[in-house]
């Protein structure tokens, strides 16, 4: 019962913050609200006894990506009254898209054969994740690494200033 | 090189723009007519025999009784270790002199100070703004007839003597 209350608390935080991201007119507020969403997601992982995933979620998304996003936003001038750029699509198409996607998602949700398991003792997951990465999923793991490396090199090339004398 | 020699060279080049007499002093004073001051400064700096590479000081003196403002230029040569003092007298009503800030960069600030405190107008100075006083100050405080305003932006400049309080 208490766990359920906690779950709904965290779920509410996640969804509320996500709404904040979408609806806030101030980009900085959106970015900070994103932090709530990411932390809430990490909380969800913790509820699912996925401790490694929860911590990595915070480490990568809050510690890395969010901070870089904030960085970029703060260095842009006149942040407070930025015009939200995606208004050009208009409300009607947006509602249409939301409706279609929503119907699809709910259908999938209700039709899926959910496997219900009683919550057991949370067990360490780190070892299993490590084994999987370097065992059966070695090739996808390495492929992902190469993709990331390419992205890294590309980013450096793009952002490098031309040095001329 | 002694002062007489410097004086002779100046008179050779500029003729009667340089006054005939020298006032012997530790810094020998050579009188120059206002129009010729920048030219004589340039000559003194560029002539390798004199090579006055340093404008040590620039001061304006308000001689109210004679209705004149004197401007003193103390020149020093680090190469030859000799020195000279050029003196210009200009009318008190509208003192205007050609600038020497293009000859010695430090002249920039020294002229701005003379303009600020004494109201000497340096023609050709690119940026003749007040240096020490606030931008909106009225009058030139070091003039003998300067009267301190009663208040500045609502701040009284008068104060009762502490002995009377």
């Amino acid at each position: 019962m208490v766990y359920a209350a906690l779950f709904y608390l965290i779920a509410g935080l996640t969804v509320g913050c996500a709404l904040g991201v979408a609806l806030s007119r101030n980009v900085v507020y959106s970015a900070f609200a994103l932090m709530g969403t990411l932390l809430g997601t990490a909380g969800m992982y913790a509820f699912l006894a996925a401790d490694f995933l929860a911590v990595v979620q915070i480490l990568v998304y809050v510690g890395g990506i969010l901070v870089l996003t904030l960085f970029a936003i703060m260095l842009t001038h006149q942040i407070a009254d930025v015009e939200v750029s995606n208004r050009s699509v208009g409300r009607l198409p947006a509602m249409l898209i939301v409706g279609v996607v929503g119907v699809g998602m709910f259908t999938a949700m209700f039709r899926a054969p959910w496997k219900m398991v009683e919550p057991g003792e949370p067990l360490p997951t780190t070892y299993g994740i490590g084994e999987s990465f370097l065992g059966p999923y070695l090739l996808p793991f390495e492929l992902a690494s190469i993709v990331l490396l390419t992205a890294l090199v590309g980013a450096i090339v793009l952002s490098r200033k031309e040095i001329r004398d | 090189m002694d002062a007489a020699e410097i004086h002779r060279r100046l008179r050779d080049k500029l003729g009667n723009s340089v006054l005939p007499e020298i006032k012997e002093n530790e810094w020998p004073v050579i009188g120059v007519l206002p129009a010729a001051i920048a030219e004589s400064c340039r000559l003194l700096r560029d002539d390798p025999e004199t090579a006055f590479d340093c404008l040590s000081n620039l001061t304006a003196v308000d001689r109210k009784t004679d209705d004149l403002i004197d401007v003193y230029y103390h020149l020093y040569s680090y190469g030859h270790r000799h020195k000279v003092n050029l003196k210009v007298s200009c009318p008190r009503l509208d003192p205007a002199l050609p600038t020497v800030s293009t000859i010695w960069p430090i002249g920039d600030w020294l002229e701005r100070e003379a303009f600020d405190l004494m109201g000497v107008n340096f023609i050709g100075h690119g940026d003749l703004r007040r240096l020490l006083m606030p931008e909106d100050w009225v009058g030139h405080p070091l003039r003998k007839d300067f009267v301190e305003p009663e208040e500045y932006h609502g701040i009284s400049t008068r104060r009762e003597s502490l002995l009377k309080l």
Binding site: M1, F32, D51, F52, L70, T125 | -
Partner: protein
């Protein structure tokens, strides 16, 4: 802690209550105790810092409130709490108010996994080290938020410097941590300590040359992450006034400083855990209470030794420039850390169970370095005239 909570729950205190609520209450209770404890730790660290700094600078430091000024931090805290909490008119008030608490939260969360003794840890998470690295990110977000919300260019510059610095130095620090994890095969703080022994040659620092290098990599990077001299650029008082905290006053300012001093202790505790054998003590007694106390004292002594070294560095070194900071991180520390990790792997393959002669040699080398430093210190103390330095208890 779970065992302790279970024993409490079975002891009948929470009879008739849902078991989950009991757990939540126990957790809340521990959080309360821990919060007070870290206030104490941060406060004492602040006092110690000022005393040590005072000695280094041949002045006295706080010595009026309490014996030797030991409760000066309490007086300062009270003063700060009673001060007016100024929020600049042009500042972004909600974010400005939240920021210090966010930073505080990130720092507070780290204490959950710090092992003060064999059983004396709030939660021995299986991903302890990773968890610490993760939650300290909240401090960065807090500082960035403070910097932006203050609506002050100095604060913004400070916040940005801080974020750039912490993110950059997380890489060498993380690689230093991974070197340790390589040898333990676990991220749990307690397992790391249990993998070491009480004797110096069983500490990870002296286990092999690569861990020795990893210690220094981690220590330097941790100093940078904790915004300590010589990497205290974010709040460089001579450049950025007070960096991200320029506009803060009263309690909120105090919270930021608590985070700073508390973080200093966390650095010490992490170094002690990973490299200096943590709470390991020789088996001198059977009494569990006494044993726990001794472990607690050992752990504190080790972590405060590291804290003292950090203070010493702060008293000695000037500050680097921001480009030098980045050069050090990306051109020196990071490559060294990678090479070091590779070397450690090879070492692990060659000597999976350690190599005792090397350990003893490392201890001797480490001791030699330590003794050399000690002799330098003694030399300088002797050379300085008696009037130049004062007795430690003045």
């Amino acid at each position: 802690m779970r065992k302790f909570a279970d024993s409490l729950l079975n002891g009948g205190i929470f009879d008739g209550m849902p078991i989950e609520l009991g757990y939540v209450l126990v957790v809340a209770f521990f959080a309360f105790v821990l919060l007070n404890f870290i206030m104490l730790v941060a406060g004492v660290t602040s006092w110690l810092e000022r005393r040590v700094w005072g000695r280094i600078q041949s002045r006295i430091g706080p010595n009026r409130v309490g014996p030797q000024g030991t409760i000066q931090w309490l007086a300062d805290g009270l003063k700060n709490i009673m001060k007016e909490d100024i929020i600049p008119e042009e500042a972004d008030a909600p974010l400005f108010k939240i920021a210090p608490y966010l930073a505080m939260m990130g720092f507070f969360a780290t204490f959950a996994v710090i092992p003060f003794g064999d059983g004396l840890v709030v939660a021995d998470l299986d991903v302890g080290l990773l968890y610490i690295t993760a939650v300290t990110a909240l401090v960065v977000v807090g500082v960035l938020m403070a910097g932006w919300a203050s609506n002050n260019k100095w604060a913004l510059l400070g916040g940005i410097r801080s974020a750039a610095q912490i993110i950059s130095y997380e890489i060498p620090a993380g690689l230093g941590v991974i070197t340790v994890v390589l040898f333990t095969g676990s991220l749990s703080m307690q397992s790391i300590i249990r993998a070491q022994g009480w004797e110096p040659w069983n500490w990870f620092m002296f286990d092999n040359p690569f861990l020795f290098v990893a210690f220094f990599l981690f220590f330097v990077s941790a100093l940078a992450e904790g915004n300590r001299t010589p990497f205290d650029l974010p709040e460089a008082e001579s450049e950025l006034v007070a960096g991200a905290f320029t506009e803060y006053s009263g309690l909120r300012n105090l919270l930021f400083f608590l985070v700073e001093w508390g973080n200093l202790y966390v650095i010490g505790a992490l170094c002690a855990t990973m490299f200096l054998g943590g709470w390991q003590i020789p088996p001198v007694t059977e009494n569990p209470f006494l044993l726990g106390l001794l472990q607690f004292i050992t752990f504190f002594a080790k972590s405060y030794f590291i804290v003292f070294v950090a203070m010493w560095i702060r008293g000695t070194l000037p500050r680097v420039r921001v480009d030098q900071l980045m050069t050090l991180c990306w051109k020196y520390l990071t490559p060294i850390a990678f090479v070091n990790l590779l070397g450690a792997m090879i070492w692990f393959i060659v000597f999976p169970h350690g190599f005792l002669p090397m350990r003893i040699a490392m201890v001797l080398i480490g001791g030699g370095i330590f003794l050399y430093f000690l002799s330098r210190v003694m030399f300088h103390l002797r050379r300085a005239k008696p009037e130049m330095h004062l007795s430690p208890l003045a």
